[in-house]
Assembly symmetry: C3
Homo-oligomer: 422 residues x 3
C-alpha cells in the first residue's frame, strides 16, 4: 500500500500545475446554507423556459463563457438543519444538501468544475445524462478519483431535455448516505414543448442518526429513522403552492435505500417523465400514489383545479414520522400507568408507549434528547397533525396574480388555509 500511495503522490505532483489552472479558471464559488426555498432563478439574459422551484433549496446560477454554461460545484462538509431543533453533520455541495439544482437547456454545452474539499476522494456521476464515456464520473473506471484539494472539469453537450441527478461514484455508499446529491434539470429547447405553470423538484433520502447525536451512520441498510424531502422533515418542509387552474409538474428523485410511494391527496396525476426521458401520452395512466424506485426519478403532472390544503407524503406510514423507538415494549391495551411511574422514578425521561394508542405522544410534549426531533409534530387549523418525515402540503389558492411564481415570499407565506369543515 505504501508503494501505491507513493506512486499516486508522484503522479499527483505531475499534474499539480494543471489542477491549479483548473481551479483558477473556474467560476467563483457560490454557496448557500439557508434552508429557505429560493425563488425560481430567472436569468438576466433571458431564458426559453420557466425555471424550477427546489423545495428548501436553490438553483446555481451559471456563468456564460464562449457559449458554454459553466458551473462550479464544491464537494464539502455541510451542516443542515433538518427542522428547527435538529442540525446534522452532512456532506454536500456549495453549503447545502442536496447541492444546488443545475438548470440548463437541451442543446447547451455545459462545463462543470468540481472542487473536492472533503477528507477523502470523490467524483460526480451525471445520472441519466447521455454523454461521452470519459465524462461519466465513475471513479477508477472513466477517470481518476478526484483527490482532496483537487479540481476536476466535466464538459458535455446536453442532447436531451429531462430530469436528472448528480451524485458521487467514489465510496458512494458513504458519500450518498451523508447527503451528496443534487438535481440536474434540462429544459426543452422549444418553450412550447411540455409547458407548465409551476415546476417543483426534490430528492428523497433516508438517514440513521441515533438520538442525541448529529452524524448519520452510513452502514445502515434497511432500518433508518429519518426520512427527508431535500434533507428536511415535516413540519419544516416548505409547501408546494399553486394557483387554482395552474398546470403543475413535480419532479422527484430517490437516492435512499427504499422505494417511496408518494401519495397526493385530492388529485389524480399522470407520470410524464423519468430520469430516462419523457413518457409518451399513450403510456400514461392515472395514479394517486407514485412509487419512486431507488436510483430513479418520477415526474408527474396535474391541473390544480381543487382548492385546498392537500397532503403530499410517502405512504409508508413510518416514513411520515420522526424518529421513534422501534424496539419499545408493546403496551397497547395494557394498563401500565403504575409501572411507568415506577420506572420513571428510576430512569429519568422514561417513556412507555401509549396504552390507548400513540396520539397522546404529540400532546405530551415529552423532553427529548438533545438534537432530536419528536416522533409526531405539526399543528394545523384544527389541531395536531401527528406527522413527521416525508410530509408536506400542496396549497392550491384562488385569485392570485400571474407573477406569483416570481415572488420569493409567496412560497413561505401563502394565503391562509382554505380547508373548512362543511
Amino acid at each position: 500500500m505504501t508503494t501505491r500511495r507513493r506512486f499516486l503522490a508522484g503522479s499527483m505532483a505531475l499534474v499539480g500545475m494543471a489542477l491549479l489552472d483548473r481551479a483558477a479558471a473556474a467560476p467563483d464559488v457560490q454557496s448557500r446554507s439557508s434552508t429557505e426555498t429560493a425563488p425560481p432563478l430567472w436569468l438576466a439574459s433571458g431564458q426559453p423556459y420557466r425555471p424550477v422551484v427546489t423545495l428548501n433549496g436553490w438553483t446555481l446560477p451559471p456563468r456564460l463563457r464562449d457559449g458554454v454554461k459553466e458551473y462550479h460545484l464544491v464537494a464539502e462538509k455541510v451542516r443542515r438543519e433538518f427542522a428547527p431543533g435538529m442540525t446534522v453533520n452532512c456532506w454536500g455541495y456549495n453549503g447545502s444538501t442536496p447541492g444546488p439544482t443545475l438548470e440548463a437547456v437541451e442543446g447547451d454545452r455545459v462545463r462543470i468544475y468540481v472542487t473536492n474539499r472533503l477528507p477523502e476522494h470523490t467524483t460526480i456521476h451525471w445520472h441519466g445524462i447521455r454523454l461521452p464515456n470519459g465524462m461519466d464520473g465513475v471513479g477508477g473506471l472513466t477517470q481518476p478519483h478526484i483527490a482532496p484539494g483537487e479540481t476536476y472539469v466535466y464538459e458535455f453537450l446536453l442532447q436531451r431535455s429531462g430530469t436528472f441527478m448528480y451524485h458521487p461514484h467514489s465510496d458512494d455508499v458513504l458519500q450518498v448516505a451523508m447527503g451528496m446529491m443534487g438535481l440536474f434539470i434540462v429544459h426543452p429547447k422549444n418553450p412550447r414543448e411540455r409547458p407548465v405553470d409551476r415546476d417543483f423538484c426534490f430528492l428523497l433520502h433516508n438517514w440513521d442518526i441515533e438520538a442525541g447525536t448529529a452524524t448519520p451512520k452510513p452502514t445502515t441498510m434497511t432500518e433508518f429513522n429519518l426520512w427527508t424531502f431535500n434533507s428536511r422533515v415535516f413540519p419544516a418542509i416548505d409547501p408546494l403552492v399553486a394557483r387554482k387552474g395552474d398546470r403543475v409538474r413535480v419532479r422527484i428523485g430517490n437516492l435512499s435505500m427504499h422505494d417511496h410511494p408518494i401519495h397526493l391527496h385530492g388529485y389524480d396525476v399522470q407520470v410524464t417523465g423519468t430520469d430516462g426521458g419523457w413518457v409518451p401520452k399513450s403510456a400514461q395512466f392515472p395514479e394517486v400514489t407514485v412509487n419512486v424506485p431507488v436510483g430513479a426519478m418520477r415526474v408527474f403532472e396535474f391541473t390544480a383545479d381543487a382548492p385546498g390544503d392537500w397532503p403530499l407524503h410517502c405512504h409508508k406510514l413510518h416514513h411520515t414520522m420522526g424518529p421513534m423507538g422501534h424496539n419499545m415494549p408493546n403496551m397497547l391495551g395494557v394498563p401500565h400507568a403504575d409501572i411507568a411511574r415506577k420506572i420513571g422514578q428510576l430512569v429519568e425521561g422514561y417513556m412507555a408507549m401509549g396504552e390507548t394508542g400513540m396520539a397522546e405522544m404529540q400532546a405530551m410534549q415529552m423532553e427529548l434528547p438533545e438534537n432530536t426531533l419528536p416522533m409526531m409534530a405539526g399543528e394545523g387549523p384544527y389541531g395536531p397533525l401527528e406527522m413527521g418525515g416525508m410530509f408536506t402540503l400542496l396549497k392550491v389558492r384562488e385569485g392570485l396574480a400571474r407573477d406569483d411564481y416570481r415572488d420569493p415570499g409567496w412560497y413561505r407565506h401563502p394565503p391562509e388555509t382554505l380547508a373548512r369543515k362543511v
Copy 2:
C-alpha cells in the same frame, strides 16, 4: 398538557348536542365479525353493476335517504381470527378488519357517519377519491380529530368510478397497523362500461405479533412475521372461484410497509386500474406478477380460460409462510440430531432448523406456543402445501350455471379440484 386537555374538554362540551344529533340521525349500525366471505350484495332496489366479492369480508348495505346513499361506520376494537388457532386483538370497523367494503355508483352522493368507539381520537381519509378539501379526513388539517364517543359526518359526490380505500389519518401509523382499513368501490354509471363476470377485492397487510401473544406491535417498521389478505392467512383465506370463460377482475390495495408482488399461476393478466382511475388500453401490458406498491391499489383482469387450481400469492417467499424464527442458528447440512436431543432434554419444545431443509417442519407438527400459527401449513390433494401468509387459490371450473355468482355457498365449497397429474 393539563391546560390543553381542559381546553379540549371545554370545546367538546360546546358541540356535544350537535354530536348527539348526528349519532341519532345515522343509519343503524350493522356489524359482522364472521370471517366467511359474504355473497355479493345485490340491492333489493336494483343496481346498474355486478357487485364485488370481498375475500373473507362483506359489503355494508347503504340506506337511501333523499337521494343520498348513507353509511354508518363505527371505528372500534375487533377480534379477528387470522386462521383457526390464532385470534388477534385488532382495531377495525363494524366488527371486522378490514372494515366492510363500501360500494356505490359514479354520480352518487354519499353521506358517511363515523362513530368513534376507540380509546383515542380518529378520522377517516377517503384514499383516491376526489372530494372537497374539508371532506379529506386529515385530522388537524381539514377537520378536528373525532374524539372517542363522537360521531362525525362526511358527505361528497362520487365524481369518478374506480377502486379506492378508506383508513384513518389520525395517529395513522398505529391505527393502520392495528387493522383499520377498508375498500371503497365506485362502479361506473354505465353498466356496459368495463363489465366483468367476477369482481374480487382484498387488502394486503403486515403484522408483528410475538409468538404466544395476540396484540400487534405497531412500532415495527420492516421485520414483520404475519402477512395477510384481508386480515387472514393461508390456509384460511377463501379461494377466488370462477367459471371457465369468465372475465375476472381482481382489485388489491396495500396498506402494509412493503410492496407485495402478487403472482398468479397459469395466466397472464393486464393491470386495468389503479387508485387513480382506469388504465387506458394503450398503456396496458401483460404480467404474471403484479407489484402492488405501498399505499396504492392495482386492479387486474384476465379471462379464466384455463381450468384448475392456480395459486395466487405474494412472491416474496417469506410472505407465504407463517411466523418463523428468523434468528434460528443455521443447521443446514450440519448433522445435529444428537445436539437437538440433548437440548430437547433441557428445553421443552425446542426445535432446531432442519439438517436436510425445512420441509420436515410441516410434517413434524411440533407443539406451538398458544395462539401461534405453524410456519408451514395446508394440505392439497397430493400432500402438504408448505405455505402460509399471503397465499390462496384461483379455482376455475367448467359447467356451472350463470347464477353461481349469487350463491353464497359456492365460494366456500366449489367443485373438487381439477388438478391432475398427467
Copy 3:
C-alpha cells in the same frame, strides 16, 4: 409422523418401477460447474433465433425425440464460486446455480425430466408459462412432491414466446434461498419478430452468509449481506459486450426478497417484456433505472450507439458492496487512530470504520476471515472501483466482425477499455 412416513414409503414402492423407467428414458445428464460465461448455444440442427448469453452461466442442450425437445434437470447440491476467494454451499441444478438456461421456440412441445438428488423433496414450477394445471409444479396441489431419488416428468406445449423462470414450489423459501432457480427463454417462431443482435440474461438473488462460513442462512428475510447476478459478485461477473450499433436485449429475473433497481449508465432503455409477455410499443417509455420487482422479470432493449465501459448495477447502493459490518460503531469524523491501535493490540484483525470515509477500506487490503470477500473491490484503468455485489459493465466496442457473438473468448477478453479522460 411415523405413520405418515411409512405410508409415503409404501406408496413410493408402488410407483418405484415407473420411476426407474422415467430415469432410464431421460436424456443423459449434462452438468457444468464452471463459472465462465458459455458461448451462445447454436444447435447443429439449426434454429430460427439468435440464442441468449447467460452471464457466468450456460444453456442446456435439448435432445430432440419424436418432435419433442427433451431436457434433463437434476436438482442437487452444488458449490458455487461467487468470486475468487469465496465458494458457497448452494443448491442448484446440473452442477450450477442458477441452473442451466432452457431455450426453446414458441410452438415447441417440451418434455422435462427432473431428478431429485437433494436430501429433501422438491418440484419445479415453470414461472410465467401457460400450461395445463397438472404441469404447474406446485407440490401437494398439482402433483406429489418429488422425493429424493425420484425422477418426475413435465410435458407441455409452449404457447407463447417470452422470458420465463423455473424454481421449486416445495419448501420454496429454503430451496430458492439456497440458489435453486433458472431461466426459461421461449423464442418467437417467426425469426423476424423482435430481432436483436445480442441477448443477455441473468437472475438477481440475495444471500446471508456469515463471515467465515460457506452456507447461506435461509431464514433471513430483509438484512442480507451478498447480492448477486447469476450467483456471482463484482468483480467476478462477466461483462455484457456489444459492438457499436448493435441492438441489445437484457432479460433480468428477480428471486430475491427485495426489488432491485437496475441502472445502466450512458443509455436510456425501453422495457419491452415481462414474464407475462411482450410490452406493446404504445406502453413503452424511456428509463435509465429498471426496477425489477421480486418474483418478476423485466426485459429491456437499447441500441448500443455510445462506445465505452458503462456500469450496469443495482442502485440500492449497499447492493453494490461486498459484505460489511452494518453494526460497526460510527467513527466518521471521530479521530480514533489511537483507540483503534489499542483495540488492535487486543483483537487480531480489528477494523474500525474510517474517520475520513470508507474509501480507504479498499486501499488498506485488510486481512479477512476465511472464505469472505472484501467490502469494496475492483481495479479500473484509473484506480480502485470500490464496488462489489450487483455490479458489472456493458462494454461497447467499435469495428468488430459480425461473428463476435459466436466467439466464446470474446466475452471474457473484449478489446481494451475505451474510456478516456477528455
